[in-house]
């Protein structure tokens, strides 16, 4: 499947904005990316294994928080986007 990333997350995967990877769930996809780019999952997941609050993962155009979270199932035809939050306040 195609994985899209932006800005800082791009730096974690060797500076590419889009690449191919595999996994039958978001969790296994992150594990596979981490095999290729050690340290990747530490930046994406909390120590307890949950998705960090300021990282957003989309399956096609849907936020996985509204699907089945890290257990969301994936197929090879999917596009997964892993994007940092750009946020602030008053």
């Amino acid at each position: 499947m195609t994985v899209n990333v932006t800005s800082v997350i791009e730096k974690l995967v060797g500076g590419q904005r889009s690449f191919e990877s595999v996994g039958d769930s978001v969790k296994s996809l992150i594990e596979n990316i981490n095999e290729a780019y050690p340290g990747f999952s530490d930046q994406i997941l909390e120590e307890g294994g949950e998705l960090r609050r300021f990282v957003n993962i989309y399956l096609n155009d849907e936020d996985i928080r509204y699907l089945d979270g890290l257990n969301t199932e994936l197929t090879d035809d999917d596009t997964v986007s892993i994007l940092p939050a750009l946020a602030g306040g008053e």
Binding site: T6, Q43, F54, L83, P84, E90
Partner: protein
């Protein structure tokens, strides 16, 4: 010094007013060769007067547009509806990944953070760089050619 034409400043102020009572946010892209600037409104998914969170998917589409049209990210802007045009502690914290890890390089070291304040009758627009260790450096805005 940040050169930002008047119509670009005005477009950000208009956006800030349109999104009241909430904070507005967006990006200014600039052509790598023609230095032409364009303002791109991004949905504030937090929809709040106190904070903003740029729609990650819209941001990604803008990054793809940058690649395909040879543009740079010139500025990230947002509004403060009732406080000064100065980066808040949250703004500084969130300029780093993970947030608050100010010993890392900031996410966008070369990009201006532009703040639009609607605190007073006359809107105030100011530009900053947010640097390593959370240092804020103001860049004066110049609008004349």
């Amino acid at each position: 010094m940040a050169y930002i034409p008047n119509e670009i400043l005005q477009a950000m102020v208009d956006h800030a007013k349109d999104d009241l009572p909430n904070e507005a946010c967006g990006m200014i892209l600039i052509g790598r060769s023609d230095r032409q600037m364009t303002v791109h409104r991004v949905t504030n998914t937090a929809a709040s007067p106190y904070r903003y969170e740029m729609s990650p998917l819209e941001m990604m589409k803008l990054e793809q547009k940058r690649d395909s049209e040879n543009l740079d990210l010139f500025a990230i802007y947002h509004s403060h509806v009732a406080s000064a045009a100065y980066p808040s502690p949250t703004d500084v914290r969130m300029a780093f990944f993970p947030p608050g890890e100010t010993d890392n390089e900031p996410m966008f070291p070369d990009t201006y953070y532009v703040l639009v304040s609607l605190e007073n009758n006359k809107p105030d627009v100011r530009a900053f760089h947010i640097k390593k260790h959370g240092e804020i450096s103001e860049e004066s805005i110049e609008s004349e050619n």
